[in-house]
């Protein structure tokens, strides 16, 4: 199926592997916004996806590799099908106690790093599905899904574009 001249991406997996340092978070952001913009997402959806991926990478940079930050890596795995864009942001660091989320201790630790402790809140608010897996000393994976704009909506827009009222 061809949409706006762009071949439909099927069973395509893209993996972006980045150093877990702050300067590369923008690279993850650029990659995902480039991909999302080719999947007919709205500008608003693309912003949401960018923020969610960026927050997940930021978490990995801030928390995953406290003792060996310079050698740590982040893997951003992106896959798409007709219904959705799925992104997994994985680190291979220390993992964390998932029970800490939403507690005073988490708030205190975030404030020490000038954070708001809102990274995961943002991700959950901006994406359609979010799942967090974390294993001590193996790492953390945040898997998130954004549903693609409905195909019939695209067809309707396409129809309007191709058949101007004249």
């Amino acid at each position: 199926m061809i949409i706006n001249g762009t071949p439909e991406i099927k069973d395509n997996v893209i993996i972006v592997n980045l150093p877990a340092t702050s300067e590369y978070v923008s690279v993850a952001r650029l990659s995902i916004s480039g991909i999302a913009s080719r999947l007919n997402f709205t500008v608003e959806d693309i912003e949401d996806i960018k923020i969610a991926v960026s927050e997940a990478c930021t978490n990995a940079v801030q928390h995953a590799y406290e003792n060996h930050a310079k050698t740590g890596r982040i893997e951003v795995k992106i896959s798409t099908d007709e219904e959705k864009l799925e992104i997994s942001v994985r680190d291979f660091g220390s993992g964390f106690n998932i029970g800490i989320l939403g507690t005073e201790e988490q708030k205190k630790r975030s404030e020490e790093k000038l954070g708001l402790g809102l990274g995961l809140t943002f991700i959950k608010n901006l994406m359609d599905e979010v799942e967090i897996q974390t294993i001590p000393n193996e790492g953390t994976c945040i898997r998130m899904i954004k549903l693609r704009p409905l195909q019939h909506h695209i067809s309707a827009i396409q129809l309007q574009k191709n058949q101007p009222l004249d």
Binding site: S22, S26, T58, L114
Partner: protein
């Protein structure tokens, strides 16, 4: 890795104005934090932060602004945040930051009108 982040500080009638351009994320937050700390040394009652040139801000950027707001709150001061882009406003709404002593305004003139 290059970024298009830029920051400048000036003042209007002793109210510091911090103007930011580009993308605010974990990488440039330490720089933002230094500039905001300098601004707070000049005036501990009010601060204007202009985000009109900002294309992207995440939770670390908001955290840095929240940190400055917290310091200002101790002296009943407020942060006037000039913000016109819908995507940036949305982030502030999700964060809940705009309910505290952070006031979202649509222009620098409006920000200075309130603080003067």
């Amino acid at each position: 890795m290059q970024s298009d982040f830029n920051i400048e500080i000036s003042s209007n009638d002793s109210v510091p104005i911090v103007r930011i351009w580009g993308e605010v994320d974990i990488h440039n937050c330490p720089q933002l934090n230094r500039v905001l700390s300098d601004a707070l040394k000049e005036n501990d009652r009010s601060l204007v932060i202009n985000l009109e040139g900002v294309d992207y801000i995440d939770s670390t950027g908001l955290g840095t602004i929240a940190h400055a707001a917290k310091i200002l709150a101790a002296t009943q001061g407020i942060v006037q945040l000039v913000c016109t882009k819908p995507q940036i406003k949305k982030i502030f709404e999700i964060s809940g930051l705009s309910q505290k002593n952070v006031n979202l305004v649509s222009s620098e003139a409006a920000a200075l009108g309130v603080t003067q």
